[in-house]
């Protein structure tokens, strides 16, 4: 019998619809896989076997009764622990939320449940999504399935590693500066950051509200499109949610897979290549450009001069917004409460003791940094100036999209680095996100598609960016590239990943 954990979500869905396997069998196969390999990978913080099997059994019953089901009904999924799930732990990788059971579901989780996707569990991440390696989790490292001594990217390293290790066919991630796309690149998986406002943020534990966006983590471009269509669209509970319907994403992926990109202009961003990018990363990037040209696309060079300032602006805006959002963790209404060791037990002193004990180093660093940037006398000079850079980056995008339908770059400058290598050097860690951050500042959508292995035998990602609300272009171009690459390789990239367990 087929190993159900090896199938992409679309094929697993077809297998279930044809009655060749049940959702209970598919869900159990993934739970077995988690039991076999997650001791090494540590992608999951919590496995919800009973909940997942109950959903699967319900879907099987409804299918047997001839009910009209969602195309992904019965296909299991893993959810990043920053997304709240009713009755299931949701820690965001922080000690301050250890043991907290949310009383409600995020909108996107409601949609997963309504469509009958069994939730396998919650995936590991950098604490409150602050990091690029998942090493800032309060609950231990996640290991890259390609090389267990290396980082799986971050902050959504757990979701990417779970999908790369065949522990789940689908996962949910969130992307504030690259936390879906960079883990995708370093684990050989597909990750999509939708247009800002394209997927509801209701029930996401917020880091930087003007940048955060949830999106799909999968092994194929088509699977991302299927999941994106399920979780995306307007939500009255998120006032920044886009009211118009999503463009047809699944259709765009199917169209793209046919391989014809004639008439499409692809803009290579001058500022997102060269210095700081590994030679193997650049070599794969140029090979992929050739494949796009062969598919009929015209490749042009575009300049986005202010992208060089994106990292600096991001490291003013993100901590400022995070310091404000994380004020809610005060030890009063949920999560940890710690009393001061001596002196009066007042609310204010309990808050400070709770936050001192409950937050990890990186969270303290960013909250203190953000508080400084927003404190009296500094607001205009710091946050205000960074917001001006945001305008300049948007103008660069506008000018670039006047010359090209999509923009492309390597997703991350390097392949996965060894665990521990950059933990004590925040600036080196932040450089990982140099190519992904501009999209968050401008709100435009982006995808990372695995496009080969570097000289060190580790996966590399190809980033495609599209104008706001034109997420369909990501899927058209992404599927065309994926199809051309897989024809040249003869198999998906993950077929070359080492066996685990």
């Amino acid at each position: 019998m087929t190993d159900l954990t090896r199938l992409p979500a679309a094929e697993l869905a077809a297998t279930l619809a044809a009655g060749e396997a049940s959702s209970v069998e598919a869900t159990q196969a993934h739970l077995d896989r988690i039991a076999a390999v997650d001791g090494d990978v540590h992608a999951f913080l919590h496995v919800s076997a009973d909940d997942a099997l109950a959903t699967a059994a319900d879907v099987d019953t409804r299918r047997a009764a001839g009910e009209d089901l969602h195309p992904l009904a019965g296909v299991p999924i893993a959810v990043k622990d920053v997304v709240v799930t009713k009755g299931m732990p949701s820690t965001a990788g922080s000690k301050i939320l250890e043991g907290w059971i949310p009383p409600y579901d995020a909108t996107l989780v409601e949609r997963l449940r309504a469509a009958g996707l069994p939730i396998l569990g919650k995936t590991n991440m950098d604490e409150f999504a602050m990091g690029s390696s998942t090493e800032h989790s309060a609950f231990g490292n996640t290991h890259n399935p390609w090389d267990l001594s290396r980082i799986p990217g971050g902050s959504g390293g757990g979701s990417a590693a779970a999908v790369a290790a065949f522990e789940a066919p689908l996962a949910i991630g969130t992307d504030t500066g690259g936390s879906i796309r960079q883990p995708g690149a370093v684990t050989g998986t597909v990750g999509v950051k939708p247009t800002y406002g394209g997927v509801s943020r209701y029930g996401l534990i917020a880091m930087a509200s003007s940048l955060d966006q949830a999106g799909p983590v999968t092994r194929t471009v088509l699977d991302s499109a299927l999941l994106h269509e399920l979780i995306g669209g307007h939500d009255p509970r998120d006032s920044t949610s886009i009211p118009e319907p999503l463009p047809p994403l699944v259709e765009a992926a199917r169209q793209g897979a046919l391989g014809d990109l004639s008439g499409l202009r692809v803009g290579v961003v001058t500022q997102l290549q060269g210095e700081g990018y590994q030679p193997g990363v650049l070599a794969r990037f140029h090979e992929s450009l050739e494949l796009l040209t062969k598919a009929g696309a015209e490749v042009v060079e575009v300049s986005c001069p202010h992208f060089e300032y994106a990292l600096a602006a991001y490291y003013l805006i993100m901590p400022a917004e995070a310091s404000s959002n994380l004020a809610k963790f005060d030890g009063m209404r949920f999560g940890l409460r710690v009393e001061p060791q001596d002196g009066p037990v007042t609310a204010e002193r309990v808050m400070a003791a709770t936050r001192g004990a409950g937050f990890g180093d990186e969270v303290k660093r960013r909250v203190v940094l953000g508080t400084y940037a927003l404190s009296a006398g500094y607001y205009d000079a710091y946050y205000g100036s960074a917001q001006k850079v945001r305008t300049l980056i948007q103008r660069d995008f506008d000018a670039a999209f006047a010359q090209a339908d999509v923009l492309v770059s390597p997703t991350a400058p390097t392949t996965a680095f060894p665990l521990g290598e950059k933990l004590d050097d925040p600036l080196a860690m932040y450089l990982n996100d140099v190519a992904t951050i501009p999209a968050n500042l401008a709100g435009v959508p982006g995808i990372s598609v695995p496009n080969g292995l570097s000289d060190d035998g580790l996966p590399v990602g190809f980033q495609i960016l599209a104008p706001a609300k034109a997420d369909d272009r990501l899927y058209r171009v992404g599927a065309a590239l994926e199809s051309a690459l897989e024809s040249s390789w003869g198999a998906p990239l993950l077929a070359r990943a080492p066996e685990l367990g």
Binding site: S210, Y309, Y315, G331, V368, Y372, S385, R390, G443
Partner: protein, 98 residues
């Protein structure tokens, strides 16, 4: 030589309501220079003629009818609280003295 002093870090940490150990204050005093470097970089291009953007897509206020919606059950919410009493959150004393 760090630009942001230990005292400044301690002052900001107090504003942020985070108890820091002495060694944490020392480390952060060195690391917060990143913000000084960032602002120097941003100021190269953030000139007075450039308008600020607070939000990636244009936002308009969202109105809806003022219709009561069911709230979360009080017992579910309090079950997740550090302390509760008589159907409410129980918190330490708010003021410094009685």
């Amino acid at each position: 030589m760090s630009t942001i002093s230990r005292d400044e870090v301690a002052r900001v940490a107090a504003l942020a309501r985070i108890d820091l150990r002495d060694d944490e204050v020392d480390r952060l005093a060195g690391e917060l220079d990143v913000i000084v470097d960032s602002i120097a970089r941003v100021r190269e291009v953030a000139t007075p003629d450039v308008p600020a953007t607070s939000h990636p897509l244009p936002l308009t206020n969202v109105f809806r009818e003022d219709v009561p919606q069911p709230a979360l059950p009080v017992e579910d919410v309090l079950a997740a609280a550090p302390d509760a009493q008589d159907g409410r959150f129980a918190v330490p004393q708010i003021l410094g003295e009685e």
